[in-house]
Symmetry: C2
Subunit: 313 residues, 2 copies
């Protein structure tokens, strides 16, 4: 525990190496990382968390980079978590973009961290939330979490962000169709990037129609739809204004603390559920399952009867 108290002090002092080390500890779920998070918890809660998600190729990274620059120019401390699918296709290019834009002032105020997505069959808890907590404790004003809107990661965002931005392009019609379930529900702000492309206005009016069709009791009924051309840095100031507007609305309406308590509750439930199955699936139970798998496969028994016995044992 002593080593963690020292690490905590350095994180609170915004020491980059210690922040980095702490994130690695939680990312790799190393023994004792829970102790660290326990010590850090009371220093969390001050940073404003912004999630940025959307389909591949929509320009999430460019928008994130524009926001980083704008926030940094205004003197804010920023932590960025870029969730990198562990793909053979990606990696280098993205990192290159990041590095190029870092001038000396920004180097001081901006901390960018890539995190891998979990494996396909990964656990219930996401380490994105834990990494955000570490950034938060270190005194960041804003935490930007950028993740591609496929798979589990969009849900992870919704479980930690105060404002969630969904980035689409005029050609996203098809994608929206399929991704809707996840993306539509979590959006506080829609950004239509590359809005100088053909079909932008048509897409925006379609999107607005759909948003209007939804029941007025839906929390995101009033989600704003904004246009940007991130490669030209156009519309980013409006986007930031909209984010701050949303923040103001959350606080004045009381939704801010309601949402954060909901996130906390969800996190506790996930942590408990993970503990439940880690505690259950000890060596002996797994061996029991392995030993009986053939007889279930051969229909000598059925999975449901086996499970009853396993839960009793």
């Amino acid at each position: 525990m002593i080593i963690y108290r020292e690490l905590v002090d350095k994180i609170l002092a915004n020491d980059k190496r210690s922040i980095s080390r702490a994130i690695s500890l939680v990312e790799n779920e190393e023994a004792g990382s829970t102790d660290l998070l326990k010590l850090l918890f009371k220093f969390t809660g001050k940073a404003y968390r912004i999630g940025i998600t959307g389909p591949p190729g929509a320009g999430k990274s460019t928008i994130t980079n524009c926001l980083i620059k704008l926030l940094s120019d205004n003197g804010f401390n920023i932590g960025v978590i870029a969730v990198d699918p562990t793909s053979p296709f990606t990696g280098g290019a993205l990192l290159g973009d990041r590095v190029r834009m870092a001038d000396s002032g920004m180097l001081e105020r901006v901390f960018i961290r890539s995190m891998a997505t979990r494996g396909s069959l990964g656990g219930l808890c996401s380490n994105i939330v834990e990494a955000s907590d570490i950034f938060d404790a270190s005194g960041k004003d804003f935490i930007l979490i950028e993740t591609v809107g496929v798979g589990q990661s969009e849900l992870d965002i919704a479980q930690t962000a105060d404002t969630t931005i969904v980035v689409l392009v005029p050609e996203s019609g098809d994608s929206v169709q399929a991704m809707k379930a996840g993306l539509m529900e979590i959006a506080d702000i829609f950004v239509i990037n590359k809005s100088d492309r053909a079909g932008a206005d048509l897409f925006i009016s379609t999107l607005k129609n759909i948003l209007n069709l939804r029941a007025p009791d839906n929390a995101h009924f009033n989600a704003e739809v904004l246009k940007t051309i991130a490669t030209k840095n156009e519309g980013i100031d409006l986007l930031l204004r909209e984010i701050l507007q949303h923040k103001k609305h959350l606080i004045s309406s009381g939704e801010f603390s309601i949402n954060r308590k909901e996130h906390l509750k969800r996190k506790i439930i996930d942590l408990v559920n993970t503990r439940l199955y880690i505690d259950f699936w000890k060596e002996q139970k797994l061996t029991n399952l392995e030993e009986n798998l053939d007889s279930i496969y051969n229909k000598s028994t059925d999975p449901f009867s086996f499970i009853e016995k396993l839960l009793m044992s």
Copy 2:
């Protein structure tokens, strides 16, 4: 239990209304649906399960429809599970396509069932597996499971399909980049649909390069890459031949039963984990959490200490 025995008999006799009723029972997780699955279990295992997934707009439905027709023309009984994202965009069109292609012979041999995806924060178990089991027990030769390759559903497919087909289009470069983690790993066969479009050959050679770069111990190292133009029914016969080739390979190599046992194991683990948290989160525990949420939010205690106490209580 008596009512279920009757239902089981009718399902085994391939009675459509009973199959439909049974799927509704498991879809809605109605009381007693476990008893039904328990009774059905020993009649499962004979149908060959084919998963069809890929990004939105790739032509999955058209390919599925072509395969249905081809299999039906060969006299096979086919169950189809179409996983419909519960989107405001989709619904009608898809169902229309399905209905139009059903001639009288097919009406006899083909059973198509749409299932909604789970809510964003849904449970661990998928009902796709359960619906497949019901089709299986009813004597289907093939079960086709079509689902869009985003979110949890692609993993659900990998947990039940014997052969998984990933459908892409020449423009899928960007999508592959982001979706890879899931899609690349689960593919037994890649179908490049709309292969008369520009860039098809370049995309295929890029894809093949990536597949070759992967370690030879990867189970899907030899995933085939096929071209189709589904709207013209081109390449579908080759696709079916490849599916049957893959089936033959699985059986002769012993992978068939290894994979099925792995699916069974995964299913048992998921069912147990769901039971664990359902059993844990009784009224009293949830109340305890609700009552303590404010004091955790206000940092009077931390989530980790609270969880320890909750697990003890």
